[in-house]
């Protein structure tokens, strides 16, 4: 898959920009705060319909302007696509594929696939379950756009159910209504858990392979889904037995849920654990091991997308080259090879990747130099 051109209007610190990208490595250099990451953000926005850095689209509009507009061309084996998104300060978002408006985000996502790797990705390994869920769900939506509906639906159910739990507290007679919401929670929630486990089943071995390569076979990485606290059943579970277990757990938690007024069981609470040689990386891993784990995850993602879509996604590397040590950098470059179109940002003006075909110098939201 190739991302061949990008047009920006009023996006972040760019007033107007048009670039033809190289199919190989695109090196984006510049001092701090000049707009390097903003470029990657724009590319990634066309892929996911949202920013990887900000939850608010409004922040992406150039400060003195009323709208932003991003347009890009994607060349895929199955055809060429022209993607565009416009967003106004009034909150109107118009996404188009080949000039036709797409009313649903899920009909826009998944045409341009990207894997982004930035220093913050260390958080996936180091921080909260919420961060890991967000990461996993985000990747899954790119691969299976309809998964987004499941997530939205589930969120809505949890929200409604929490409202009901608060209302029910102390009123025994109305608990029959809870059953109705339990049924929906269990149905949608089980589908999410099942899908996540399916994806981790594929991502796990790929990550292990990557990790083995980077560590010269010294470390075995394993990903373990943690949900419903019954992993032995979960491993073999089909949808129906999952639903049964879920329902059982939710019935057991009823009193506690009524007391606290929140839904305590379900995929919105689940996590996955990263283990190196049977030790939890989050708790026991060194800084270096945690970095390697993040890198292995990202490279596994790249391979998973290749396996699922039969094309490599576009790789976005934001400020990571300087963060990685020699051997990890070496390995990364080796994987990229000549097969993955890559966008690398760096503050190091002298940084050169042997095969790079486009080098941009960015200053204050402008390209001041481009060499091919």
């Amino acid at each position: 898959m190739l991302f061949s051109s990008l047009v920006l209007r009023n996006f972040r610190n760019y007033t107007s920009l048009q670039i033809e990208w190289s199919p190989g490595v695109n090196l984006i250099c510049g001092l701090n705060a000049q707009g390097k990451s903003n470029l990657l953000e724009a590319v990634s926005y066309l892929s996911t319909g949202s920013s990887f850095r900000s939850g608010k689209d409004e922040e992406l509009i150039r400060w003195d302007q009323q709208f932003f507009y991003i347009q890009g061309t994607v060349l895929r084996q199955i055809g060429d696509y022209n993607l565009s998104v416009g967003y106004t300060r009034e909150g109107r978002k118009v996404a188009k594929v080949n000039g036709n408006q797409r009313k649903k985000l899920s009909e826009f996502i998944g045409i341009l696939n990207t894997v982004i790797f930035s220093p913050e990705d260390l958080d996936i390994v180091k921080t909260s379950p919420a961060r890991r869920r967000k990461y996993l769900d985000g990747e899954m939506v790119q691969l299976f756009p309809s998964y987004l509906h499941l997530l939205w639906q589930y969120q809505k159910i949890v929200f409604q159910r929490n409202n009901l739990l608060k209302e029910l507290n102390g009123k025994k007679n109305k608990e029959s209504l809870l059953g109705v919401w339990n049924e929906q929670l269990v149905d949608t929630g089980s589908r999410i858990i099942k899908k996540r486990m399916e994806v981790l089943k594929k991502l796990g071995p790929l990550a292990r392979l990557m990790h083995r390569k980077i560590t010269g076979g010294l470390e075995e990485l394993e990903i373990v889904y943690e949900g419903l606290e019954r992993d032995e059943v979960l491993k073999a579970a089909d949808l129906n037995s999952l639903k049964e277990i879920f329902l059982e757990r939710i019935e057991k938690a009823r009193e506690e849920e009524l007391k606290r007024g929140v839904t305590l069981i379900g995929p919105h609470r689940d996590d996955f654990r990263l283990m190196i040689n049977n030790n939890d990386v989050k708790k026991f891993g060194s800084q270096g091991q945690q970095r390697t784990t993040a890198l292995s995850l990202k490279l596994a993602e790249l391979e998973l997308m290749k396996a699922e879509t039969s094309e490599y996604p576009v790789l976005l590397l934001d400020d990571v080259m300087s963060e990685l040590d020699e051997s990890r950098r070496e390995h990364l470059l080796q994987v990229i090879g000549h097969k993955v179109q890559t966008f690398i940002t760096t503050t190091d003006a002298d940084y050169n990747y042997s095969g790079n075909q486009l080098k941009l110098k960015i200053s204050q939201g402008r390209i001041i130099n481009a060499s091919r």
Partner: protein, 200 residues
């Protein structure tokens, strides 16, 4: 000194802004349009609003909007009294009617179960539905609530309530987009949805 719109115009704009889907800009445009239109058209609109409000009410049987009570559908002897289609809003009923597929009667709930909005079965016309069913003529209840989580919760609730009473309950959902609103579904999908209804 800065001058603003005359008070009466500001009032009109504010009233229009209260309408669903109308923002300040559209309200302004509409207000100027209403001022520039003929007296006859403006009065016609005002009168139409008042007349519609005065003449329509909820049918005492099915709770649909009607000018006559009971409504024409409830009085129609050619409709199968054994089939009862339950919808959220009058607009869903009219969407269903347009398909010309359904030949039974209706019941309008005027909403769906939604704890976040404080809407439970008591806020809907569930009680009148129950007394209707007690007459014993209805053989099948077709739940055509919207295919979103609130509509689904309402359908599940009705099914749990009615099934023990020996009434067949079906749900139309097939072919409807998840999270979509029924009124936006084109008639063909809705007709298909009706054919493919399933028991719940």
């Amino acid at each position: 000194m800065v001058y603003y719109y005359p008070q009466s115009l500001t009032n009109l704009i504010e009233e229009l802004t209260k309408l669903p889907g109308i923002g300040p800009k559209t309200a302004q445009r509409l207000a100027f349009h209403l001022l520039n239109t003929t007296e006859k058209d403006a009065v016609g609109l005002a009168r139409a609003i008042m007349t519609a409000r005065q003449k329509t009410r909820h049918c005492s049987v099915c709770a649909n909007l009607t000018e006559d009570d009971p409504c024409p559908i409830c009085r129609d002897a050619n409709r199968d009294p054994g089939l009862l289609c339950v919808v959220e809003q009058p607009r869903d009923l009219f969407a269903m009617e347009k398909t010309r597929e359904f030949k039974g009667k209706y019941h309008v709930l005027h909403g769906a179960i939604s704890p976040m909005d404080g809407v439970g079965p008591e806020q809907l016309t569930v009680n009148t539905l129950l007394s209707r069913l007690q007459e014993g003529r209805v053989k099948e209840v077709i739940v055509a609530t919207n295919p979103n989580v609130e509509g689904e919760a309402t359908a599940l609730y009705l099914s749990r309530l009615l099934k023990p009473k020996g009434i067949k309950v079906t749900r139309i959902a097939h072919g409807l987009p998840v999270g979509g609103d029924l009124e936006y579904v084109d008639e063909i999908t809705l007709a298909k949805a009706y054919e493919g209804r399933r028991e719940i």
